[in-house]
Amino acid sequence: MRVLYFAWVRERIGTSEEVVDPPAGVETVADLIGWLAGRSDGHGLALAAPDRLRAALDQAFVPLDTPLGDASEVAIFPPVTGG
């Protein structure tokens, strides 16, 4: 599974993209965020407050309680600020 990070999430983690293989039990986007938070201090800092995070599965915005299903690309980022 490819995970993409944007804005300050990307900066704190120190990478814009990584490939991960989450264990069984990681079923939703929120589960994935909780699991990713343990990968490094940077991940912990970036992902500590899930209420400040938004996500997309295969490029479509989804709520954090959405099951990962067979998505191949997950993106995690702050609320958007375009326009």
């Binding site: 804005a7 490029q59 479509a60 980022f77 702050p78 958007v80 600020t81 375009g82 326009g83």
Partner: protein, 152 residues
Amino acid sequence: MIRILVSPAIIDLSVEMDRIEAGHSAGAIATFTGLVRADAKAEGKVETLELEHYPGATEAALHALAGEAEARWSLSGATIVHRVGMMAPGDRIVFVGTAAAHRGAALDACAFLIDRLKTDAPFWKRETSGGEARWVEARASDDRAAERWRDA
């Protein structure tokens, strides 16, 4: 006719205005242009604004919004051009243009597109002022502005 462009190039208004006018018999064209403001902050004036986006997903989100507007207001044209990368105060960030037979449709669709773009398309702004960069926070007022288009 939908036109979506996400690019680091300066937004050329005359090209965009010509395109939205051309090729259809619209009676009404509405546009919105967003510019980088040199807001005075505690840290000083904004020196640069940098726009990050999610390649692919951003264009798809803008296409979806334009398609929704085109269907809802029977538009003959919908354009969204969004700049990304490094910008200075006064630069154009975004241009939205809508063409329709009558003014109400063009004006409402234009407001819809800019309101919904703010919440539905993956862009992130980073401002520099007083030499310090900071990520711009999302605003609750933008969520409310986008929300009003969901009632109808």
